[in-house]
């Protein structure tokens, strides 16, 4: 089959692969496995902030504002009651009280920042000046009392619409988080509270807000991806099995899929690139692409095998590689070019990385298809299915080929009609492009049947809205905001904002001052205005702070009255709904507000969203242009003809333009999900035309320039392979259509439409066009080895260089921004010093020896449990502590034993042994890595060894506050909180903890709760201890729950039958006992 008398380079390499197949397979698999090791390092980042670079000015400013006013994306609960009295009835009000109490008792809720009817204060005038009192206290029992509350609230304009609906029927509970990274967990806990809330008959509770969206989005998309990815894999495997009727083909394709998907994710992990929301589409895309390469190899090989059943199979594999490496490499290069276009054009990090890593995945799939697959085929040596062999030998076609031949006949008989049809598509597509709408609305990510979606709709219907836009007012001098002139400007700005579309509410310190002014003027409605006098305003603040909590205004104004925040509320969050508001506000601020003394800046969620969507449209088209150009350039270079390059991109162009038309007709916006389609469509769609053109060239040679025969012959072989290729991709992406994540669903639909069009165009439009034009790049093609090979060297090296340069620029490890999580702490001299506390902890008696049953429950993030039951013994030999643990259940770990000698000399490593019943051998294991996880749990070896004690050599300790720590099923306990900072980086690395804080019960000196941060300062784990009781006079911890926030995994240790009196034999701590299992 080789056209050259000398063996080609491809043949030489293929021969090498086929003759040492096991080495190749082993190397490929080892490479794969070596990279998989990095996979656990991959972490998720589903925040919408992740869409902007960490140094984006809008994001930086927003974070500054957040810190200034302690604002964060809240979780919002709405209580809605459609009865006559609305929520102002005794039951609903008690419910609001109950919900507020329950939610503020959660760990991650900022109690100072809860806003609800039950926490807010009313301002009224009184004899002494001003009264600041809660709207209601516990125990509203009559409708009369409830009506009084309504009268108070409805008389406070600031809260109307913002906190309570004008029609009485709804009110909000707004909860802000301490650590936004724990939002998923907190969201789930809030849902649990809602489940057991004492609802009245007409009460409905909704949970919404940006915090809730972020909290739910992660698990929502995860669940979806976990369903979709295997489904795509299974469908594609079925197609392959059906087409080739060999089990091994399915298995081998799956190895290539695994290599391409998992190795890519591993490389992401190694580079510290997180798994973003849109990364969920990456596996599906790679599944489709990587399987296409193997389909072409299989098709060709089985075709040869069916034609020449007697030929040595290794020789056939070599021939297959020799024939197919070129088109496969071509398509890989153009696909990479397409995705690199996305990489170069995208400004949002998730998209950049998506382009880059998909390109890497495609390259991996190429390598495994051309190296691993031939080697594996050389081992399994499959024969073509009987059906295929008999069809080939009798010169018949199977149904795939027959379908393609019919398609060929139709389009080639009427080439002008075919060309005309596609030209119409192209022209209408160009027209449609002008009508595309760029839009994105996070809430629309969710299916309309999701409770979150409905909650959002309900709140937006009753109240001012769930979307926030902050205007930060900054004056030059301290106390400048006492100036009536400045306050008037703020008021004007607020009034202007309220005229803008979708702005429903505005609140700032101005409204409080107006309310105070009114209260102090006997509640006169006409006094609801700003006082005119600077001194008076200053006095108001003073009076207020005298009568209530001085921190009440933290969200509105800073402590030296220089910076203030105006909070605008919008009832719609989509880009098209908010874009005008943001631009108009910006214009107003620039022209009417800003002067040398005072300035305003926009911030908040709506502003951030505006910033990350505003360039989406241009980015999409620039990316499209770059991708198209790269693909065109690569194809032109490879085919050695500019016309060929142009022909290559014609089918793809028509498919993209058709998609634009479809989007306009179906009213689909160009958003995050949909904007990604173009690069994908180019990368995948261009493959069809490349295979077509490449094959036509060799067929033209083979048929000595007979155009009709050349075009006819295309369909049964290449047509069949491309059809299978198309089916695999279409089904792979088709799976996305079943996605509940709306953008993924749209994305899947669009890609299927575009890939179908590309395929059809390559199989009908392109041949028809070629038939009409008879281009020279086909008829004039002379295979010349030299020019080809030099091209082959040139093109990959260009792409490689570009990729490396790009890689260097991008691969700056993503900076982790840590939210301000620490509570403000007041130094208190009465707190015990850390040294004393540590000494007390370590002095707690834990018995000379102990026997206990320990049940370990390991719970993964999806709630799946594994349970292990053990019996443990501990005994002091002088100062040396020996511990042994025997596994009893389940059967697959039964008999495992773990023995430790812990020496008092810190410099001396512990001695540890593990007995594995499967090996029947006691194995010495190294004990140096105390930060390693203990036998699959979330505790480290060090945690286990210390048994609740503290090693003062590892940390510098500081007492930071005292706190009443709430308990699940008992009254709160009084604790002191100690913060330990690892003494140096080496110790931190060893322990796996950079910082820890623990809550020490001041009565028992037992640690009741600990939080651990990793070496980078990210929140890592939370440990809670409960069920503490005295056994044989010794304080014993019965339940320890440790939650790993990074992995979502939880381990629960439950101690039972604890006994400090029963004698523990020395003989238990021996290797003999390990072997005997007791």
């Amino acid at each position: 089959m080789s056209e050259n008398p000398h063996p080609s380079t491809a043949r030489t390499i293929a021969t090498l692969i086929v003759h040492y197949p096991k080495t190749q397979v082993a190397i490929s698999l080892l490479l794969m496995i070596a990279l998989f090791m990095a996979l656990p390092m991959l972490y998720k980042d589903t925040r919408s902030d992740a869409f902007l670079a960490d140094d984006n000015p809008a994001l930086v400013y927003r974070d500054k504002v957040k810190e200034q006013f302690g604002l964060s994306d809240p979780i919002v609960l709405a209580v809605i009651n459609t009865s006559d009295s609305g929520v102002f009835n005794p039951t609903s009000l008690s419910l609001i009280q109950w919900l507020s109490d329950e939610i503020s008792s959660l760990d991650n809720i900022n109690t100072d920042r809860m806003t609800s009817l039950a926490t807010e204060n009313n301002i009224t005038g009184s004899d002494e000046g001003m009264d600041v009192e809660p709207f209601f206290e516990a125990g509203i029992s009559t409708q009369q009392d409830a009506d009084i509350v309504w009268n108070k609230v409805s008389d406070f304009p600031l809260y109307m619409g913002n906190l309570v609906a004008h029609d009485k029927q709804a009110t909000l509970i707004v909860a802000e988080l301490l650590d936004v990274k724990q939002v998923e967990d907190t969201f789930q806990k809030i849902l649990n509270i809602v489940d057991r809330a004492p609802n009245g008959k007409y009460d409905e509770i909704h949970v919404a807000g940006e915090g809730a969206i972020a909290g739910y989005l992660g698990s929502y998309i995860d669940a979806d991806a976990q369903r979709l990815n295997p489904l795509a894999g299974i469908i594609i495997t079925i197609i392959i099995l059906f087409a080739f009727r060999r089990v091994s083909t399915g298995i081998l394709s799956n190895v290539i899929i695994a290599a391409s998907v998992l190795m890519t994710l591993s490389i992401m992990a190694l580079n510290g690139i997180p798994f973003f929301v849109i990364t969920n589409a990456l596996p599906v895309i790679l599944i489709g692409i990587s399987v296409a390469d193997s389909i072409h190899i299989y098709s060709h090989y089985f075709e040869l095998q069916a034609k020449h059943p007697a030929e040595d199979k290794k020789e056939l594999i070599i021939q297959t590689v020799e024939e197919m490496w070129r088109p496969i490499t071509l398509t890989t290069l153009t696909t990479i070019a397409g995705f690199m276009g996305m990489y170069f054009a995208a400004y949002m990090p998730p998209f950049k990385y998506f382009g880059l890593y998909t390109a890497i995945g495609v390259a991996i799939a190429w390598f495994y298809s051309l190296v691993f697959l031939p080697a594996a085929l050389a081992i399994t040596k499959p024969s073509a299915s009987k059906q295929m062999a008999s069809l080939t030998q009798s010169n018949q076609l199977d149904r795939f080929s027959r379908t393609m031949v019919v398609l060929g006949r139709i389009s080639l008989q009427n080439p002008k009609v075919t060309v005309g049809l596609f030209s119409t598509i192209i022209i209408s597509g160009i027209f449609a492009t002008g009508h595309l709408v760029v839009n994105e609305d996070r809430i629309k990510t969710f299916h309309t049947s999701e409770t979150l979606y409905q909650a959002d709709a309900a709140i937006n219907a009753h109240l001012n809205g769930t979307n926030n836009l902050d205007v930060v007012i900054e004056a030059k001098e301290a106390e400048a905001l006492f100036e009536p002139e400045h306050l008037k400007k703020m008021e004007a700005l607020q009034n202007f904002a309220l005229t803008l579309p979708n702005v429903q509410g505005a609140a700032s310190i101005v409204d409080y001052l107006k309310q105070m002014n009114r209260s102090l003027n006997g509640g006169d409605k006409y006094s609801y205005q700003l006082p005119d006098d600077k001194a008076l305003i200053a006095q108001y603040f003073l009076i207020y702070s005298a009568s209530s909590d001085p921190t009440d205004f933290d969200e509105e104004i800073d402590y030296d009255y220089r910076i203030a925040n105006i909070k605008l509320t919008l009832n719609k969050g989509g880009y098209v709904d908010t874009q005008e508001t943001v631009t108009q506000l910006n214009y107003y601020i620039k022209t009417q507000f800003n002067n040398k003394d005072i300035t305003a800046t926009l911030s908040g969620r709506v502003n951030i969203n505006y910033h990350w969507i505003k360039d989406l449209g241009s980015s999409h088209f620039v990316g499209l242009a770059i991708s198209m150009f790269l693909v065109w350039a690569v194809a032109s270079l490879l085919f050695g003809s500019l016309t060929a390059g142009t022909f290559t991109i014609i089918p793809v162009s028509s498919s993209i333009l058709l998609v634009y038309s479809a989007m306009v007709v179906l009213d689909i916006d160009l958003g995050i999900g949909t904007s990604m389609f173009a690069s994908v469509a180019i990368g995948l769609g261009v493959d069809f035309s490349i295979h077509t053109i490449d094959r036509l060239r060799s067929l033209y040679q083979a048929h000595n320039g007979d155009w009709n025969l050349t075009l006819q012959e295309l369909y049964p072989s290449t047509g069949r392979a491309l059809f299978l290729n198309y089916m695999a991709i279409a089904c792979g992406f088709g799976v996305l259509i079943s996605s509940k994540v709306v953008p993924l669903n749209n994305f899947g639909t669009i890609v299927v439409v575009s890939v179908s069009t590309s395929f059809l165009a390559s199989m009908s439009f392109l041949p028809a066009l070629i038939k009409l034009t008879k281009p020279r790049f086909i008829s004039g093609y002379q295979p010349s080895k030299k020019t080809m090979s030099s091209r082959w060297i040139r093109i990959p090296s260009v792409i490689f260089l570009v990729a490396v340069a790009g890689g260097v620029l991008v691969n700056q490890p993503a900076l982790a921004s840590e939210g301000a999580t620490a509570k403000t702490t007041v130094p208190n001299n009465q707190l015990p010093s850390a040294d004393v506390v540590i000494a007390n902890i370590n002095r707690v008696d834990d018995g000379e020896h102990a026997t206990r049953n320990l049940t370990m429950t390991l719970i993964d993030k999806r709630g799946k449990k594994r349970v292990r039951e053990t019996i443990g013994y501990r005994k002091y030999f002088g100062k040396e502590k020996r511990t042994i643990l025997f596994y009893k259940k389940p059967t697959n770990v039964k008999g495992t034993a773990f023995l430790t000698f812990d020496y008092p000399d810190a410099a001396k490593d512990d001695d540890q042994w593990l007995y594995l019943p499967a090996l029947r051998k006691v194995r010495r294991i190294s004990a140096a890595d105390r930060g390693d996880y203990f036998l699959g749990t979330d505790f480290t070896y060090e945690d286990i060894k210390l048994e609740g004690k503290v090693d003062s050599k590892d940390y510098d300790f500081k007492t930071i506050r005292s706190e009443a720590l709430a308990q699940e099923s008992s009254p709160p306990i009084q604790t002191v909180v100690i913060r330990g900072t690892a003494k140096n980086n080496v110790i931190a690395k060893e322990l796996g903890y950079g910082k820890t804080e623990f809550w020490v019960n001041v009565e028992t000196w037992l640690i009741a709760k600990s939080i651990y941060w990793d070496t980078k300062g990210k929140l890592l784990k939370t440990l809670t201890i409960s069920d503490v009781s005295r056994i044989d006079g010794i304080l014993t911890r019965h339940r320890m729950t440790i939650n790993n926030h990074k992995t979502g995994h939880t381990s629960e240790f439950l101690f039972s039958s604890v006994d400090y009196k029963a004698p523990v034999s020395d003989g238990l701590f021996t290797k003999r006992a390990m072997k005997k299992g007791k």
């Binding site: 096991k22 080495t23 397979v25 082993a26 698999l29 080892l30 496995i33 998989f36 090791m37 996979l39 656990p40 060999r246 089990v247 091994s248 298995i251 081992i379 399994t380 040596k381 499959p382 993964d860 799946k864 449990k865 594994r866 349970v867 292990r868 259940k889 389940p890 059967t891 697959n892 039964k894 490593d909 001695d911 540890q912 019943p917 499967a918 090996l919 029947r920 051998k921 010495r924 294991i925 190294s926 004990a927 140096a928 890595d929 930060g931 390693d932 996880y933 036998l935 699959g936 749990t937 979330d938 992995t1047 995994h1049 381990s1051 020395d1066 003989g1067 021996t1070 290797k1071 003999r1072 005997k1076």
Partner: protein, 453 residues
């Protein structure tokens, strides 16, 4: 000597009496003295041309029974069923145990597709200042993984060459095992093994039948094979094995000294040339094995060493055309073997282990098929993911002398506490003549599931 139906009946009788003993614990679960657990395993192996090599069901029930405060009994049963019949030869194994089993060992029932046996059955007790374990059991000596220097107390079943788990392929023996504690850190183990069971090799015509000239004598050309004679030790007293192991822990080192007086588990194949042809006789030979092990941990490394000296080992000579084989085709020498292994646990959830195995014949000449020195390198990688939900294990063995080796890998997923699934692959490479290379075309892919309860 085939296991007679009588012997099978004796074992069956023992088994039934055991069942009667255990029965009450089923009838009166509240007064149960027995702790019962079991595992059910199903494994499918496909060879490199997509054909089923095995589709095996394993059932392993286990009872632990406290007979009194001081006496406990363990019974482990074993049932295997595999209708693929590629690992057993229907012609040679119908309703009989393989020849290498002694009376009283071997399966209770066996056919070409199934086997039922008492895997282990022993009593533990403490008396006379010593710990006693009496009955059918496994004793493992040594520190090496996968390569055997001192781990020769129990013979092995090579039905699946070395691919089966050692736990399943090691053949338990009836023996008396005494451990006497000496001081706080030392221990003396004494073994008396009257069970005359030896290695069970893959039956002829099955997948893993040995073909390497290292183990199969090549007969002189043109000389007809007259007969095959098997000779097995037969006196449980005179022919029993005897072993001692002294274990101690000193300055952080785990040390053992070992001595075993035993019959080697591989028969020696002597050739006798007569006037009309050659006859083969298979005989088992005695050996003194002395050795020691030492291991210790240094930082994240663990060092394991194992050394053994065998007084008498027997190796095949090359056959010379038309020449009477010297010494009946067998070369006798003493042998020194050792393993040095280094484990590294520096990476989270990961263990890497490298072992260097060498064996040296003190006497050697050019006729001997095996080289004077033999070297094998092994590389083991184990890694778990997501709190041990996933577990990956890769073991590669490479023999330097034949330039051959094997690579085994297994990925296991714990679906539930008691349900795990795995896929794996076993591959060999190298020349046909090598230990591993002889199975070059026996690569396979495995899929398995294990349910324990």
């Amino acid at each position: 000597m085939k296991t007679s139906p009588l012997v099978m009946r004796i074992q069956l009788g023992l088994f039934l009496s055991f069942s009667v003993l255990v029965l009450p614990s089923f009838i009166f679960p509240s007064v149960a003295i027995a702790d019962y657990s079991a595992s059910l395993e199903q494994e499918l192996a496909l060879d490199s041309s997509d054909h089923k090599q095995k589709f095996e069901t394993l059932f392993t029930p286990e009872w632990n029974i406290e007979l009194s405060d001081n006496i406990s009994m363990t019974f482990i049963g074993h049932a295997r069923w595999d209708n693929t019949k590629k690992l057993s030869n229907p012609a040679s194994s119908h309703y009989s145990a393989p020849d290498s089993y002694a009376t009283g060992n071997g399966p209770l029932y066996s056919s070409d597709s199934s086997e039922v046996s008492i895997r282990e059955w022993y009593i533990d007790t403490e008396s006379l200042g010593a710990y006693w374990r009496i009955g059918k059991q496994q004793v493992v000596w040594g520190q090496a993984d996968g390569l055997k220097v001192l781990d020769v107390v129990n013979p092995q079943n090579y039905r699946e060459f070395i691919l089966d788990d050692f736990e399943d392929s090691r053949i338990p023996l009836w023996m008396v095992n005494t451990e006497i504690p000496i001081g706080e850190n030392s221990n003396l183990q004494i073994l008396w093994i009257p069970d005359l069971t030896y290695h069970a090799f893959a039956e002829s015509g099955t997948e893993y039948e040995v073909s390497s000239p290292l183990f199969r004598p090549a007969l002189p050309q043109g000389v007809p094979l007259l007969g095959f004679h098997e000779d097995k030790p037969s006196s449980p007293i005179k022919d029993s094995d005897f072993g001692v192991q002294y274990t101690t822990f000193y300055q952080g080192w785990d040390l053992t000294l070992n001595y075993l007086y035993h019959y080697q588990d591989t028969p020696v194949l002597y050739q006798q040339i007569g006037a009309n042809g050659v006859s083969l006789s298979s005989e088992y030979e005695r050996n003194h094995l002395a050795g020691f092990t030492a291991s210790n941990a240094f930082g994240s490394f663990t060092l394991r060493t194992e050394v053994g000296y065998s007084s008498d080992t027997y190796h095949l000579n090359r056959s010379q055309p038309n020449q009477t084989p010297t010494n009946k085709g067998i070369h006798q020498s003493s042998e020194v073997s050792s393993v040095i292994g280094l484990d590294w646990q520096g990476l989270k959830d990961t263990m890497m282990s490298i072992q260097w195995f060498q064996s040296h014949l003190t006497k050697h000449n050019t006729d001997v098929v095996r080289p004077q020195n033999n070297h094998i390198l092994s590389l083991l990688l184990k890694r778990s993911f997501i709190n041990e939900t996933w577990e990956l294990e890769i073991l590669a063995l490479h023999g330097f002398d034949q330039q051959d080796g094997s690579i085994q890998s297994k990925l296991r997923y714990m679906l539930e506490s008691d349900l795990s699934l795995w896929v794996g692959s076993d591959a060999f490479y190298g020349r046909k003549e090598g230990l591993f290379g002889q199975f070059n075309n026996k690569d396979r892919v495995l899929f398995g599931v294990e349910w324990s309860f």
